[in-house]
Amino acid sequence: MIEPITRPRRKNPLLRTRLPASPPNARSRTAHGFTRAAAEGRFVLQRCGTCSAYSYPAREACPACLSADLVFVDAPRRGTLLSETTVRVPADVYFRERAPWRIGLVGMECGPTMVAHLHADCQEGKSVVMSLQLDKSGQAVAFAHPEHETANMTDDRQWREMTADPKFRRVLVTNGRSAIGQEAVAALKAAGAATIFVGLAEPWKPFRGEDALRTLQGVEIVPLDVGDEKSVSDLAADIAGKVDILVNTAEHIRAGGLLARRTSVVRDEIDQSYLGFVHLAQAFGPAMRMRGADGVNSAAAWVNILSVYALENWPAYGAYSASQAACLSLSHCLRAELRPGGVKVINLFTGPLDTEWFQTVPPPKVAPRVIANAIVSALKNGLEDVFVGDVAEDIRQRLAANPKAVERELGA
């Protein structure tokens, strides 16, 4: 039984803020098969192509038949907690600061035995369900959950180290003018965010949903024009130390390819998408990285909403796709730079949205509410790469199979 976490009190300004430490992060290249799955919330194990045995941890050859034909495949998650250990005085700085820490051996129904971090409600001898999680150093680790839901389950101390749960955290949603921004505010509020700062550029322009947004409890509208460096740094000067989760909902979507495109439109896309991202990262990133271990409401995550066409250009929205590719590249840089603080960078990849700028695109399209729910789900589950909707998932699978085919088909 987990004691529910309580809303953190204001900080004691006489105490130094604890700096983040990282758990051990050495992994083999092969082991990044787990990293990839954990980033997407999938559970995989290596399986031998010759004898079909599952194995763990990552290896170069099958421990049963020595075949080198080991492939990461989606695997059954169920197992039994064989034994548990509570580590009380670890040598590692990260775990020492969080001791006591429970780990255990889980016998998987599909064969191998895994060392796993334990949810507090996991009991020896009982069934557990496994997941792969990215820990604070961004590496995949195994995590054992109780078989059935338990009270206050998501408040588990060790689980919260793996996630960026919005509960009691303070969130900045960068654009309150859009449907996605407003849906994100609603979803984050429902998920228990303590405060939601909502950025508003050009406040002299009215917009749909404004009255509702302005009357929401726990929502604070702040001036923020991500394309304007000074606007971003001015806001960061006021609130960067209070932003635990940043959700970048800036969007600038225009149809059209390259040859008929005005340079000024391309520039608008770069200003709003890429430079906006740069400004936000430079203004808010350092404070977030420094506050990665700052208690229940530590800085936890940065969320980008990217077009799946960042991964392969869709010439019908070609210049836009390119601006998204730039943002994707930048997000990997930011992810590396925030990792020492234990702050996750979550990329949501979406197909066409059910918004005005994809009006003439036939369905399926992704509703803003679906994006908002995916944001909360990714935060609660500690994911890094999320493909939202059928189109995004389709592109992901086709890219894994044959990127050249995707290029030709999107450009047909």
Partner: protein, 261 residues
Amino acid sequence: MDSKSLLDFAGAVASGAVRVIDLTFTLSPDFPVIVLPPEFGQAAPVRIQQISRYDDAGPAWYWNNLTFGEHTGTHFDAPIHWFTGKDLPNNCVDTLPAHDMIAPACVIDCSAQAAQDPDFLLTIPVVEAWEGRHGRIPERNWVLLRTDWSKKNWRDYANLKDDGAHTPGPDVAVMRWLVEERGVLGFGTETIGTDAGQAGHLDPPYPAHHFLHGGGRYGLQCLRNLDQLPPTGAVIMAAPLKIQNGSGSPLRVLALVSAKA
């Protein structure tokens, strides 16, 4: 005028006998700009990006890179801005005659009407009534429409509703009349444009742009401090940036006013 008179004038500026009134808003990123339907090209907003400020990027100096559209902040419209003026000679900010940059102004105070009605339109009878009090508008004068719009907060200043902006401006007949019958040098407003917010629904649409620029005349907008100007007798200095083939430019607009006025 002999050079002594010119020096007397400079002395009068220095002594305060001639007051210099700044009619310009600060060029800043948060000042409202003209809003067009999103499918059209947009004026780039004002951006001020620091290059260095006595730091590792430049230890002893502070400077910025600027970007902005030609029609941002307090700005000048040249005849080439509108299709009606596209074929006129010397119709760009870099080719317009320098002597046009200094000219007297007639200031028509419609602040009371604009306070009553955000869609107030200046008409010929209103101007004729003004002429009855202050005399006929001389040729090659600026006509400045005072509405006190510049004193509003920026949301009320832009005053955007779901059917567009609601801000005062001139009607069709008065614009044609000012250009053709009064030979004005240009027309200036406190609002975001020289035309009224709803001027797209007039015939022709945007009459200030249509007739001013078609007649080779100029526009000034986003002016302030017009309440400090006398109805007649102020001299306006409005020198746009010399942008190659430029359709307009942000600029510093100054008014010279006798301290006795």
